[in-house]
């Protein structure tokens, strides 16, 4: 065994031990976050125990509830990978929400324009359009960053608002369903533009997109030259630049790929869940994706685990809205508290 291989093996077992330990740590942090959120609920005169029981019985305790978790995991995993890809070279993509909306917008254009094509061609086209839309939207920020004109953090944030307004413009304006009376929505997609679902559930083909995205991300990172160069840029930008890695090209490309993946989330939501374009397309999946990627520190398996957790919380928000009359955005408090405890843990635990 060569020395480098031995080192790699040692590092791997270290990661395994670290993973168990970090899992335990994460459990502790999660319990702390739940405790703090329980106090917030108590202060507002709600019963936290009942809230948690409601969330649990509505999500994990029934087959249908569990399938809905999978449904929510699809856009969450995709938007998390959309953040994790550019994050490999320390780019901060907070624009998943906008990229998701533009992806949905492009896919909707495909669905409304080429509705007469056979389903598999139409869906492939919508997939590519969604990827292209989200990718181009993120690449704007990538170009601004690569040229040294503007930080991608703030430009992706600002473009979120522009993207949502753009969708509103089309939905209230040129694409408004003439039969929808006053509802802001496009007309219903033809059946060929709907992603196939699994049995009687709402779980759809997007789950495959999401899992493939996570696996491709892991594979490219670990096994390809691109992954190596990305790690080089992420490790030491100056050294990478001097060894001839085209950093500016990577900045734009990784933003494009990340945005494209968020665009696929938009495409699959609009096609499988909504069946038409509406402004209420996403309850903040893009922002939640950022959180997930941050909590998972960009690790592929961590992304799946954290997506599951946030899917339960997101679904929990809908449940609390019904059973406790709380505004749906209340769960963003829980998300924030989780992030607070993850960020605020002692420096030595990092």
């Amino acid at each position: 065994m060569s020395s480098s291989a031995r080192e790699a093996a040692g590092a791997l077992s270290g990661v395994r031990n670290g993973r168990l330990e970090s899992l335990a740590r994460f459990g502790g942090l999660f319990a702390l976050a739940l405790g703090v959120f329980a106090i917030v609920l108590l202060v507002f005169g709600k019963n936290p125990l009942k809230a948690y029981i409601d969330i649990f019985s509505g999500t994990l305790a029934s087959g249908y509830g569990f399938s809905e978790i999978l449904v929510k995991m699809i856009p969450l995993m995709l938007t998390a990978v959309a953040v994790a890809v550019p994050a490999r070279i320390w780019l901060i993509n907070v624009g998943g929400e906008g990229q998701l909306f533009i992806g949905a917008l492009f896919a909707t254009w495909g669905a409304l324009t080429f509705g007469s094509l056979p389903s598999w061609i139409l869906l492939t086209m919508m997939f590519l359009l969604g990827f292209l839309g989200g990718g181009v939207w993120a690449a704007i920020s990538g170009i601004l960053r690569a040229r040294g004109w503007a930080s991608e953090t703030i430009s992706t944030l600002l473009l979120n608002y522009v993207a949502i307004l753009l969708v509103n413009y089309f939905v209230f304006g040129p694409w408004k369903d003439p039969e929808g009376v006053n509802y802001p929505q496009t007309s219903e997609f033809v059946s060929g533009a709907i992603l196939p679902a699994l049995g009687a559930t709402r779980v759809h083909l997007g789950l495959v997109f999401a899992l493939v995205a996570v696996m491709l991300f892991a594979f490219v990172l670990a096994r390809t030259r691109w992954g190596l160069e990305m790690r080089a840029i992420g490790g030491n930008q100056e050294a990478a630049r001097r060894s001839g890695i085209p950093i500016a090209r990577y900045v734009v490309l990784l933003m494009f790929v990340g945005g494209g993946i968020a665009g696929v989330a938009g495409m699959s939501e609009v096609s499988a869940i909504q069946g038409r374009l509406r402004p209420s397309l996403s309850p903040g999946y893009g922002y939640a994706g950022f959180l997930i990627s941050w909590m998972a520190a960009g690790h592929p398996l961590g992304i799946v685990a954290a997506s599951f957790l946030l899917a339960v919380i997101t679904a929990g928000g809908d449940i609390l809205q019904i059973t406790q009359g709380l505004p749906a955005s209340v769960v963003s408090i829980l998300m924030a508290i989780i992030l607070f405890v993850v960020l605020g843990r002692k420096a030595g635990m990092r």
Binding site: V40, F44, I92, V94, L144, R147, G148, W149, A150, S151, T153, I154, S155, L157, L158, L159, N160, Y161, V162, L165, L166, N168, Y169, F172, G173, Y287, F290, L291, W294, L326, P327, S329, V330, V331, S332, I333, L334, M335, A336, I337, L339, F340, L343, G344, R345, K346, A347
Partner: protein
């Protein structure tokens, strides 16, 4: 045309006021070396606490005071994370934003649809502005004076440029950063209160609609100078007001497209100013002072 321009100017000043308060707050914290993307959440907390206080007590002035305090205290959560716990500033800021979105929705839910008198308009009656509008320009001057002509301002800027050197000179960078973030929170809270009590006179979930992020862009535009921030806030207020004026006059452009103006303007301004003038930024902006051990 005269009427249009007059309406545009009046509207710019009105819409620019909360942006100016928020921008001045962010500017102070960035001068101390800390970027706070949670300003959006701070503004929301200010907006909701100000509104609820005004509904309950009937006094808009009390609402503004409560909003400022709420903003200041809320920002301390962020301060603890980034200063004491040395957490990443961008992620902590976004977490604060999430928290503000949710907490303000929870606090404000029973008051949706409530009416308040709002801030009174002061004399002279030509332009009908409230007191916060009149206080905005003197405040910018005050911040400028404090930052550039007082001892505290000098030390604060030193912390933003090089906290280690400030520490070596016998100053406490962490204490100054806490102070800066508290003041930034106060101003962010007032900015939110002006939105809910001065402009909208009502509460709606996520009513800041990204103005906190626009303010962060405005700080870059202003090259971290409070006096330039005045011009910036007026310009962005103008972008918001132009949309209202055109809509009021029935100009056949979709309001959604016009609503994009402030965001697109922010981007354009960032692209033009951000790259070329980066050297104007405090040298240690966004870095965490690790102590000297």
């Amino acid at each position: 045309m005269i009427g249009f321009l007059r309406g545009l100017l009046a509207g710019s000043i009105h819409a620019g006021t909360p942006l100016l308060y928020a921008t001045l707050g962010e500017l102070i914290s960035e001068r101390a070396g800390i970027v706070n993307l949670g300003l959006e959440g701070v503004m929301l907390m200010g907006a909701v606490v100000g509104f609820v206080t005004a509904v309950l007590t009937g006094s808009a002035a009390l609402g503004v005071v409560a909003a400022a305090l709420a903003g200041g205290c809320f920002n301390m959560v962020f301060a603890f994370l980034v200063i004491t716990r040395r957490a990443n500033q961008l992620a902590s800021g976004l977490a604060l934003m999430f928290c503000g979105v949710g907490l303000s929705a929870l606090l404000g839910a029973p008051y949706i649809g409530s009416q308040v008198q709002g801030l009174n308009e002061l004399a002279p009656p030509i332009l009908n502005y409230d007191a916060l509008v009149y206080l905005a320009v003197p405040l910018a001057l005050l911040v400028w004076w404090v930052l550039f002509s007082t001892r505290w301002g000098l030390i604060l800027r030193a912390v933003g440029e090089n906290p280690t050197a400030a520490f070596a000179a016998g100053k406490n960078p962490h204490a100054l950063q806490y102070q800066a973030l508290f003041i930034a929170g106060l101003l962010g809270g007032v900015a939110g209160a002006h939105l809910s009590l001065g402009i909208a006179k009502t509460w709606a979930e996520w009513m800041t609609a990204g103005r906190g992020f626009v303010a962060v862009a405005l700080v870059i535009f202003s090259k971290w100078d409070p006096l330039r921030a005045l011009a910036g806030a007026l310009l962005f207020g103008g972008a918001i007001s132009l949309q209202l004026q055109m809509q009021a006059r029935g100009v056949p452009i979709s309001p959604f497209l016009l609503d994009m103006l402030p965001y697109l303007l922010s981007l354009a301004v960032l692209a033009v100013w951000g790259g070329a003038r980066r050297h104007a930024a405090p040298a240690s902006l966004g870095r965490v002072f690790q102590g000297t051990e």
